[in-house]
Subunit: 478 residues, 2 copies
């Protein structure tokens, strides 16, 4: 039963388990106490901090253990913004940050601050000079910039060192969300703050990292608390912290050996999925990416049904954003990239993934996709082609009658991918140059109709508000 | 090597350990995911919530798992205050709440709110009607009141049900900090919010509870996050949550059987320590108290040295407040009670404490205290008595000479208990009715000089600012 969702959470690493067990007996007491149980706990905590700091590439006194990666991001961003409140109230983030960053940004805006987003290209990568431009164009002095080391949905690595240099040039600290990449190595470049999450690398739940370089202004928000340098309130979770630090070291060693092997397995998926299955778009940067992660989208497929079918076949994968399945809105990452979100599948291989499991996945995927498409009544590729070839550049139909050169498809109340499927079914009914207007109220249509046009070579004319939902207009070009 | 500091953190309970181990394998995945690993994690989380809710006495959908008891308090108080922001900006707390509550109150004040403290008597208990009075006298409408179920330093139980009724009468929600008592039973009374911390009952670190009754207005603060009903951001720590819930049930069963036994062991300490050791004050309510906790203060003793000596003798105890050892300010709890803070020792017995260990503790304590007093040059009790009896009601000294009826002792720069020791050494040098002024800059003197006067039957005249430090004035009465 292969688990292919390591980017969401990795199973507990054996070293983490072992360290946790040992620390349960030695690390339960309050490390602030002076008696032997407290001193033992303190020793464990100090050793864990040293080990984790070494892996992060910072000094132990720069590193705080938080209760999760999300807390590290929320509190790291709030603390850096508060620390530089007098310098400015502007925050720069990329458009493809984790939702925890975007939510922290929204909270900053709600508190009177301003935020700007650095755009990405269709691979999900920020442009060179993107942060310099954002800092230049900011509505006021910038307090903080944030950038992920690699994207959690599509695996694209960001040019962190370049962005850090651009920020340093402007005197602005850069916070790097290293949640997805820390298992694969330290983050290069002159970052100011860094966050990570232990359960992503096979450490236990309940541990995040927040590194704040000496000299970076930081003001912890919320009620005072003396633990973890005042940056993470609450009793220290020492057994989990010990397990997190020990497993990070172990995983780093293994990942150095595994990177090439998993990169090759991912390349197989990247190459073969589009060959095996019609109308699939593999997204993300093919080279500058995490070794173990690949994302693709399947036209005319409902992501949730696809995940369900793959689960029944024994494969655990996820659908792009962790937001996707719970909020039912299309992934903000795919939207920022301007790519198809329909039938989105993220495969992220844990260390030790068997080649034969990847082959098995590739073997059954085409059938699963075909079945889901069949259930949804998606047009067979042949049908579409037939429809297209039956409609030449003239306005006369197959029967020689005059055909409408403008059609309206009412997909109101229908969830994606239905609006796109209905569009595909009628595109052949208008002549080349003719217009199809799709009325839809599913937010994903905004992303998927333009993406479908790009895949099919039609012109996406644009959208406008309709009495209900939105009218998306498409001009037939092929 | 007996560990007598269960109120600070309890060793991991065997049931917690077992549950944690099992859940490490089953509960590492994201419970929001739809695949089997996610569904398994979700099942574990749901079952843990049901078990914990039953132990708390609330509905499962009223219970949130936080990353610590401190977070539960910080976020519970902030959320309740924000939810009732339009109703009022006033917060009522008792003077002896945990520092996490007082820090949250300080943060509320810093944000423009107001706070009032309900006083306690010398046993650490709030008066009947105390919350009603505080609500009546509040400077504006009250948003929230908070009260601990039992005090963490002296073990005194608070009349929570009465306070809850007083709050309900005024339409104000009451938050109960049940950190110290939850292992001993559910909190009675009509509370609105309740918090607790798993490592206090032998559960793992990293788990707090926050219960919010349906109908209580609550607005989570900080960035949005969809986990734990939006009340506790970050990836759920399911193995720890499972262990916390399982051990709470187990501990409840054991504590019902252990309560009487530990209560009797604590009574031995309460009774015999003052008999075995001169100048000791046992503090806290002798009856309405936690079964396992007792606190006493030793005149002329430095708490930290005493703890150190007890640690060397194999006993792990703590000194009153968790603040005490790290911030070196006297415990706010003992201050609010108006009792001696000098040489403060808190003994809190874990479940299963052996009678013979308590006897051993009682056996060696007198020697340890005597040694510490000797090191500090404290007056022997006999000396003091001799000094007193050598100074009759007249102003003439033993040699028949006129004696000064006012003396000044300069204890500036000296830490407690030195100022009190120096006071005790000279009190016999003034006649009955004479005055001794102690100049001191250690904050503990403010508490310990009046407490010493009460213990010795002298009159504490008062304090006034001096050029350096504070001048404390004492009139000899015996």
């Amino acid at each position: 039963m292969p688990y292919f969702d390591a980017a969401s959470s990795a199973p507990l690493h054996p070293v983490a388990r072992q360290a946790l067990l040992a620390a349960l007996d030695e690390g339960w007491a309050d490390p602030a106490r002076l008696y032997r149980e407290g001193r033992r706990a303190r020793l464990l905590l100090d050793a864990a901090r040293e080990a984790a700091a070494e892996a992060v590439g910072c000094r132990p006194d720069e590193l705080t253990f938080t209760s999760s990666g999300t807390r590290a991001l929320h509190d790291g961003i709030a603390g850096a913004l508060a620390g530089r409140r007098r310098a400015g109230r502007h925050l720069v983030v990329s458009a493809v940050e984790h939702s925890a960053v975007l939510h922290a940004a929204a909270a900053h805006e709600a508190g009177g601050g301003t935020v700007s987003e650095v755009p990405v290209d269709s691979t999900g990568r920020i442009a060179p000079g993107g942060y310099a431009a954002a800092l230049r164009d900011a509505p006021g002095p910038t307090a903080l910039a944030a950038l992920q080391s690699a994207n959690h949905e599509v695996g694209t690595r960001q040019p962190v060192a370049e962005a850090a240099a651009e920020c340093a040039e402007a005197g602005v600290p850069l916070l790097v969300d290293a949640a997805q990449s820390l298992a694969w190595g330290a983050v290069a470049g002159d970052w100011s703050l860094l966050t990570a999450s232990a359960h992503k690398w096979g450490g236990p739940s309940g541990v995040g990292l927040l590194a704040v370089r000496k000299g970076v202004r930081f003001a912890a928000h919320g009620p005072a608390d003396e633990r973890e340098s005042g940056r993470a309130p609450g009793f220290e979770n020492i057994p989990a912290v010990v397990a997190a630090a020990a497993s990070l070291r172990a995983v780093r060693e293994e990942s150095a050996a595994e990177a090439e092997r998993l990169r090759e397995l991912v390349d197989r998926i990247r190459t073969r999925v589009p060959r095996l299955i019609p109308d699939v778009e593999v997204v993300g940067d093919p080279e500058r990416r995490l070794p173990h992660l690949v994302t693709f989208s399947c036209l005319y497929v409902d992501g949730e049904t696809l995940l369900h079918e793959l689960d029944r076949a024994g494969f655990s994968v996820s659908s792009g954003s962790s937001c996707t399945s719970s909020t039912l809105t299309p992934s903000h990452v795919l939207r920022a990239m301007g790519v198809l979100s329909e039938g989105n599948v993220r495969v992220s291989l844990p260390l030790g993934t068997l080649e034969e499991d990847v082959e098995r996945f590739l073997g059954l995927l085409p059938d699963v996709v075909r079945r889901v498409r069949g259930q949804l009544g998606a047009p067979e590729q042949d049908e579409e082609v037939a429809a297209r070839s039956a409609a030449p550049a003239a306005v006369s139909g197959p029967g020689g009658e005059e055909r409408e050169d403008e059609l309206v498809v009412d997909s109101l109340g229908k969830l994606c991918p239905i609006p796109v499927i209905e569009l595909a079914k009628v595109i052949g009914d208008v002549p080349v140059g003719g217009l199809v207007t799709v009325l839809a109220d599913d937010e994903a249509a905004r992303l998927d109709i333009p993406a479908w046009c790009a895949m099919r070579g039609h012109e996406y004319v644009g959208e406008r508000p309709a009495d209900r939902g939105t009218a998306y207009r498409v001009r037939r070009r092929a």
